[in-house]
Symmetry: C2
Subunit: 258 residues, 2 copies
DNA sequence: TTCGATTTGTTCGTATGTATT
DNA sequence: TAATACATACGAACAAATCGA
């Protein structure tokens, strides 16, 4: 029998090794591999910079450069005096990093989510395109209504490949006490780090009008969103409809904070 | 009489100096001051890292950290082997950095711009709010129709404070052979580095319908956009309407390139 | 409360590699 | 080819934050 716990590999980098690019890029790749292999679970601290430097046989500066880029990509989080941690998709993080709907004053609020439907289906053409699936591949499809300030503002239709999340069912989503991305991460080690959002204007149909308490035909935002994981595999396709009568999609460019 | 050309100040940092934060932040501030003072004009190279290190009496590593952040903020552009340059708002740069409207395949194209109207006016309430003006302050207002693939897709209503751009007139905009941001930079040394975009859905009115060749009442994107310069002063307020029948606003998150 | 150990943050200096002119 | 400029890498030292003894 093989050992259950994989020991930290001896990934010391040899001086004569043939490298495609800079050394810190190689370090970055190895850290990412440890992440996808689950060596360091979400929320847990990774080894200190000094330890990583020793492990890979590189200088601390090289480790810092690699870690710094992963922090910039929101894969890791640094805390001075404590350590560096695998980014955990808790509510605050999700709000800060991925949520763009704000009220008239620009304030964000964590939405209250209500599951409307859940079913299994074959990939529709749009999902197949964005999730890179064959048309017979199966997906889970579920719909959420999100409330802000007590009013329904956002309607989501979400599709995820069954191949990526094999053991999902309705109860998992009904009983979740975390964000959807948090669920992906906690149950399947799938961490979303990249998003692609295609924003268009559309007219609400009858059902959407009822859900968002808006006249049928009224203009709403329609957002097609693809979520990618570490290795750029698409793991979720989401159609989002937003009532922008008292909210907006806020995009900040060239700003570090807020 | 004072000399016309201000000589490079002796901004060597004294070892005993009282600093609010890290040294590289102070270096960053001084580089920014040289930029706003016009010591290094747009497109021009700034001194080499070694020269800056000597000028400020810090190590090259400290200069690199400061410059690196300014590059991340799109204020400067590095070119290995050549030097570091003040970001110039040419067409490619503007397309890459600030333009978000893409076709169905995600491709960007430089829009053909047509000036529709130009006038002076008092600040309307919306402009006053976003540009932080008193209601009697004067603004230039002009309207542009932008074509993509030969069809009208975007309508812009732009307002800028007369206090910031005192010598603008219609001819300046009719005869421009550069981007609007390029004009701000070339004529007034005003470089836009931050944008804030509030995106909502709206219904096209009659005039917009005619301009964008769309039925009146059809859903369009309505974007309120504020442009800020180095020191976070708002310098432009733009209302943008987009026909999203064959285009979309594409927002990429957590991605380095494209 | 204080102290000491640990960890990240900052700064320095130096050497070498790579791209451009 | 040589000079210049940015990119990478190393090692060392101290500061600041955190946490447990």
């Amino acid at each position: 029998m093989a050992t259950e716990l994989t020991l930290p590999a001896d990934d010391a980098l040899q001086p004569g090794a043939l490298l495609a690019g800079p050394l810190y890029v190689e370090v970055k790749k190895r850290v990412m591999r440890s992440l996808t292999d689950g060596e360091w679970p979400q929320g847990a601290p990774i080894p200190s910079e000094a330890q990583l430097a020793q492990r890979y046989a590189v200088s601390v500066g090289t480790v810092r450069k690699a870690i710094g880029e992963l922090v910039a990509e929101r894969v890791l989080v640094r805390q001075p005096g404590r350590g560096t941690f695998v980014a955990s998709h808790n509510r605050d993080y999700m709000l800060e990093a991925f949520f763009h709907i704000v009220d008239e004053r620009g304030h964000k609020e964590f939405p209250a989510s209500k599951l409307l439907t859940f079913r299994q289906a074959k990939a529709d053409p749009l999902s197949a395109k964005y999730l890179r699936l064959a048309k017979d591949d199966r997906v889970f499809q579920f719909e959420n209504l999100l409330h802000l300030q007590g009013k329904p503002v956002i309607f989501d239709r979400i599709r995820v490949p069954q191949a990526v999340f094999p053991d999902f069912d309705e109860d998992v989503f009904r009983q979740r006490d975390m964000t959807i991305f948090g669920l992906y991460q906690a149950r399947h080690g799938v961490t979303v780090t990249r998003l692609e959002e295609w924003i268009r204007a559309a007219n609400a149909d009858d059902r959407l009008g009822r859900l968002l308490d808006i006249e049928p035909g009224a203009a709403v935002l329609r957002i097609e969103r693809v979520a990618y994981t570490y290795d750029r595999t698409p793991v979720e396709f989401r159609e989002r409809f937003v009532d922008t009568r008292s909210h907006a999609y806020l995009n900040l460019l060239g700003m570090k904070k807020t």
